[in-house]
């Protein structure tokens, strides 16, 4: 003790950057949440006053230690997301909805294949036999609604995923590879300056209106805005120093895009993905109305279009599909926003 007291300022002043400290001792301490700084012997609380005014032992590496947070990016994203109650509730409802599209035909008396045309039963209001009532030809509406929901969600997810993937890949290249900028910009102008509905009409008339064709067409014309968005973001990140650092280290373009840039776009991409899903459903409704979708496979758009004309007399025909569309839209709106917020590391505590 006495020795320690004698520790002179001169000694102390020597810069202590001894880098060969034995880390193992530190390492083996149980890793748990701990307050900033060192842990001190409890005894210090009961130190006599004299001892309190003695120099404490100094550990340079302790100053270096940061509070260990057991941090994982995606875990934080997830935790943050879970904090957004409305989004969580809506996504649970949405998942139940999807599961239900598979269960619904099993528990109902009719399936889309067995629902019979029966004019005596047309426009039956919802009842114990027909849970969602019947349509204009006396067919069970329940099985149609759920089948349509499944079709629409499948289409929406397919198109949204397609356009986001295509848009992201093109956007990354567009933004990062300078020599491609011109080409993609012209392509963008080329497609964007004419309302896409024109291209959709052309395709519908020339190639067909089948589910797959229209899905591909939607993907093909919807990637633009995503690509543009991604491209602008890439421009923001492209010349950040960490990318220069990667270039200095000889990292390939592909890896830079995948490892350095893409992760930063996740929140935007997820947001766009989330908004693209209801967007596709709305678009599908419009296309159906314009007669550009194949009607042989019932979708929510088709049900809405059909119900539109008699919803005043039979509101349930509109309410059920419109309600489901609204649930999907609001879910993805909330989930998209919540998720993109959660993806922002600034919101990770």
């Amino acid at each position: 003790m006495k020795k320690q007291l004698k520790k002179t300022v001169q000694e102390l002043e020597q810069p202590n950057v001894d880098l060969s400290v034995d880390y193992t001792a530190v390492d083996q301490e149980p890793q748990k949440q701990r307050p900033m700084g060192r842990e001190y012997p409890l005894a210090r609380n009961r130190m006599p006053e004299k001892q309190l005014f003695e120099f404490a032992e100094y550990k340079s590496m302790d100053a270096e230690r940061i509070s260990y947070s057991n941090y994982s990016y995606w875990k934080s994203v997830w935790q943050n997301f879970l904090k957004k109650k409305p989004a969580v509730i809506m996504s649970v409802i949405f998942i139940l909805l999807i599961i239900f599209t598979f269960i619904a035909p099993l528990i109902s008396k009719y399936t889309i294949e067995t629902a019979r045309i029966d004019y005596d039963k047309m426009f039956t209001s919802p009842n114990g036999e027909y849970w969602f009532g019947t349509d204009n030809m006396g067919r069970d509406y329940w099985c149609q609604v759920w089948h349509a929901t499944r079709t629409s969600i499948f289409l929406a997810v397919l198109v949204a995923a397609g356009e986001i993937i295509l848009g992201t890949i093109i956007g990354l290249l567009w933004g990062y590879v300078r020599s491609l900028d011109r080409f993609f910009t012209e392509l963008y102008n080329f497609i964007n300056n004419v309302p896409t509905i024109i291209y959709m009409t052309l395709i519908a008339l020339m190639v067909g209106k089948s589910f797959l064709v229209m899905a591909l067409a939607m993907i093909f014309f919807n990637w633009l805005s995503t690509a543009r968005n991604v491209r602008n973001l890439v421009l923001m990140y492209r010349d950040r120093e960490y990318n220069l650092a990667s270039r200095c280290l000889g990292t390939s373009i592909g890896r830079i895009l995948a490892k350095n840039i893409l992760p930063y776009l996740v929140s935007v991409i997820i947001l766009r993905l989330a908004l693209a899903i209801p967007g596709t459903i709305a678009y599908e409704t419009t296309l159906t109305y314009l007669g550009l979708m194949d009607v042989t496979r019932p979708s929510l758009g088709i049900l809405l279009r059909n119900a539109r004309t008699y919803f005043l007399d039979y509101p349930y025909l509109l309410i059920f599909p419109a309600g489901i569309v609204s649930i999907i839209t609001i879910t993805f709106y909330l989930v998209g926003n919540a998720f993109s917020d959660a993806c922002d590391p600034r919101n990770h505590v």
């Binding site: 102390l12 020597q14 950057v17 900033m36 309190l52 005014f53 100053a63 947070s69 960490y242 280290l249």
Partner: protein, 684 residues
């Protein structure tokens, strides 16, 4: 310190003045908390401060110390999620903490004005600067129309903006950073406030501009008899402007006193550490006394003295109880247990004493080698007639023009210049991030600019690495440290197996003084200094011979800078590295470099050995640059005469300039007439 020097400022008189006054503004026990995503952050922890009329009070501290937040309380500009949870701020008999938004309209601007940090974003880009200043004039001086315009023009002139009539109609983007800051100051001055708060007004500016702005603030204070609170992290600036200095750490004022007292007789270990870590006070070839670790996280509850864990002079009690304010003199208080009568006696560190002796002397022969003087020297990098241009056609901009220099193995070669001078471009051109448009770069005599073979490319990448300026931007936030550090290894598959790779990563981390366990974390958990060291580890793992360090410490806090500088010096020795060190801060450059090249507007104007350049600068630009370097001694700093570089002194129309070696190893750029002048100067 000479008596003559001491007479430049009469701090004693100012101290008497302070003691005789009632405070103009008095903040007592102010506590400010922010709620951030459900967590509570106590940014100001019961800080008290008195402000006296007519004085300039500097608040100095690192980022996150709360200096800015504290002063925002005085103008009611706390962010929405923050609130004053304790204490009072008395001003003109009112308690500002009780103010609501309408009440503030009576005070803000009219009585207390503020100059914000970033002049580039502080002005409305769509309004002419005249209108923006006039807005203040009309609002607070009650002038209208032509009278207001006249007053505006007067203010523009007063803040040193030439051609006010023309400038009045211009938009902010037509102004340089320094000029914009003048405009921002003008808008504040136009309010004719009693108190002016300057929140790091020069941080974003070059040294020469900074010196001019400081001059301006001092002059305006004299002319308008304003009371100024000056917030900064730069002790040199403090020395320049402050009558009184308050040092803040972790939301508290830990030492406050007249400038001379704080600089020459500080008593808080943190103040000691801050001053000691200044490269100006360092001894070349030796380590700078650094402060380990990082400031505390204010989300957590702090027990005892917040500085204790980093304090080499910490007493046991520092970890238990917060120290009270001890009075050193009537004007000088310190919040440190060391001043307690029960505490052991300690002396102030040597470097502090050095400051009071004003001994920033040339210590040329400290055992450092001088590879550039060695006849067997080995040229590592040769830059020949380098030109770099950006853009094409009308938008073509020549960033670097006809630059020549050689870097020898084992030396630290520095490039110094202001922002936009092209120094970073040169660095990036050498490591081949930016393509060069003229001349060539040789590495060990081999051309590495332009198109090169794949093998050479690989070789160059592995031998030359770069350290970047902004540790916040230079690490990929979404990758773990493990990936960041081993990125180079992965690219060239420089490891045997996964275990070997991890091993190498951990070794590299240890080498830069970080814990190996950090490898599984993400960059945003680290402080700036730690991040910068991760960046260094990333470069080191490639086993390079040559490193371009692009302002590696300029974005770091004062207390952290020393850590990184020390590390760079250590690595140079242990790995026999060669550095190209790019900086704008001459004091740092002097501390670390063997040779210095001064660059101005894309051209190197002077190149010499470090001390040679400091002692015998030849080019007027170098001289101006050196004259602007802030000195942490208030007497020296205030006594210094500022040289302003006027590029129009060169008349290169007929007499073309050349790059000439005036003395062995001392190059300067100038035409025949100028060179003659320089030669005469040298001979004197």
């Amino acid at each position: 310190m000479s008596e003559a020097l001491r007479k430049t400022v009469d701090f004693e008189a100012r101290a008497r003045q302070v003691l005789s006054q009632v405070p103009l503004l008095s903040a007592k026990e102010v506590e400010v908390t922010f709620s951030l995503r459900g967590q509570k952050l106590t940014a100001i922890r019961r800080a008290s401060l008195d402000l006296y009329e007519g004085e300039t009070l500097a608040i100095v501290g690192e980022s996150g110390s709360g200096k800015s937040v504290f002063t925002k309380c005085f103008v009611g500009m706390l962010d929405k999620n923050g609130s004053i949870t304790h204490g009072s701020i008395e001003y003109e008999g009112q308690d500002l903490t009780q103010f609501r938004e309408q009440d503030w309209l009576r005070i803000r601007g009219r009585k207390i004005a503020m100059v914000t940090q970033d002049p580039m974003t502080s002005l409305n880009p769509l309004k002419t600067i005249g209108k923006q200043i006039q807005e203040s004039v009309e609002l607070h001086q009650g002038l209208r129309g032509l009278a207001a315009k006249k007053e505006t023009l007067r203010i523009l002139e007063a803040v040193g903006i030439p051609n006010p009539e023309v400038r009045y109609k211009q938009y902010p983007h037509e102004f340089s950073g320094g000029m914009r800051q003048r405009v921002v100051i003008a808008t504040a001055v136009a309010c004719k406030p009693q108190i002016l708060i300057c929140d790091e007004p020069t941080t974003a500016l070059d040294v020469t501009i900074q010196a001019q702005i400081l001059d301006l603030i001092r002059r305006l204070q004299r002319e308008q008899n304003m009371t100024i609170i000056y917030i900064t992290h730069d002790l040199g600036v403090v020395a320049n402007v402050a009558d009184r200095v308050a040092v803040m750490y972790a939301g508290q004022i830990i030492e406050i006193g007249m400038a001379n007292e704080v600089f020459f007789d500080p008593w808080h270990p943190y103040t000691w550490a801050l001053l000691s870590a200044l490269p100006q006070l360092g001894v070349k070839g030796e380590k700078l006394p650094a402060i380990d670790g990082t400031p505390p996280n204010l989300f957590n509850k702090i027990q005892g003295d917040a500085f204790a864990p980093r304090n080499r002079h910490a007493l046991n009690i520092d970890f238990l109880e917060e120290p009270p304010m001890y009075e050193v003199t009537a004007t000088h208080q310190v919040k440190a247990w060391l001043r307690d009568p029960r505490a052991p006696k300690v002396e102030q560190p040597k470097s502090i004493l050095r400051l009071s002796e004003q001994s920033q002397k040339s210590e040329i022969d400290t055992g450092a080698s001088h590879p550039h003087l060695d006849p067997n020297r080995e040229a590592l990098i040769e830059v020949k007639n380098m030109q770099v241009t950006f853009g094409t056609g009308r938008r073509k901009f020549i960033a670097v023009d006809d630059v020549n220099f050689t870097i020898y193995k084992g030396e630290t070669f520095s490039l110094v210049g202001e922002s936009g001078s092209g120094k970073t471009t040169i660095g990036r051109a050498i490591v081949r991030i930016n393509p060069i448009t003229g001349g060539e770069v040789l590495f060990r005599g081999e051309r590495i600019s332009g198109k090169i073979s794949r093998e050479l490319d690989t070789k160059v990448i592995r031998s030359m690495q770069m350290i970047f300026q902004d540790p916040m931007a230079s690490l990929n936030e979404r990758a773990k440290v493990d990936y960041i550090v081993s990125e180079g290894l992965i690219n060239f598959h420089m490891y045997k197996d996964e275990h070997d790779r991890q091993d190498k990563v951990q070794k590299a981390l240890q080498e830069v003084g970080l814990l190996p366990e950090f490898s599984s974390r993400f960059p945003h958990e680290f402080s700036g200094g730690q991040r910068q060291r991760i960046g260094i580890a990333r470069s080191l793992i490639m086993q390079p011979e040559f490193i371009v360090a692009d302002e590696p410490i300029s974005a770091l806090d004062v207390s952290i800078r020393a850590q990184v500088l020390n590390l760079l010096n250590d690595l140079k020795k242990s790995r026999s590295l060669t550095y190209l060190f790019i900086a704008h801060d001459l004091s740092v450059v002097r501390f670390i470099s063997d040779r210095i090249a001064v660059i101005h507007k894309g051209r190197i104007v002077e190149l010499a050995e470090s001390e040679e350049l400091f002692l015998h600068p030849l080019h007027p630009y170098t001289k101006a640059l050196l004259s602007a370097v802030p000195n942490p001694n208030p007497y020296v700093e205030r006594a210094k005469s500022l040289l302003v570089y006027d590029p129009t002194v060169h008349d290169y129309r007929v007499d073309k300039p050349v790059w000439e070696e005036i003395l062995p190893g001392h190059f300067v750029y100038g035409n025949a007439r100028e060179l003659d002048g320089y030669r005469r100067e040298v001979e004197l």
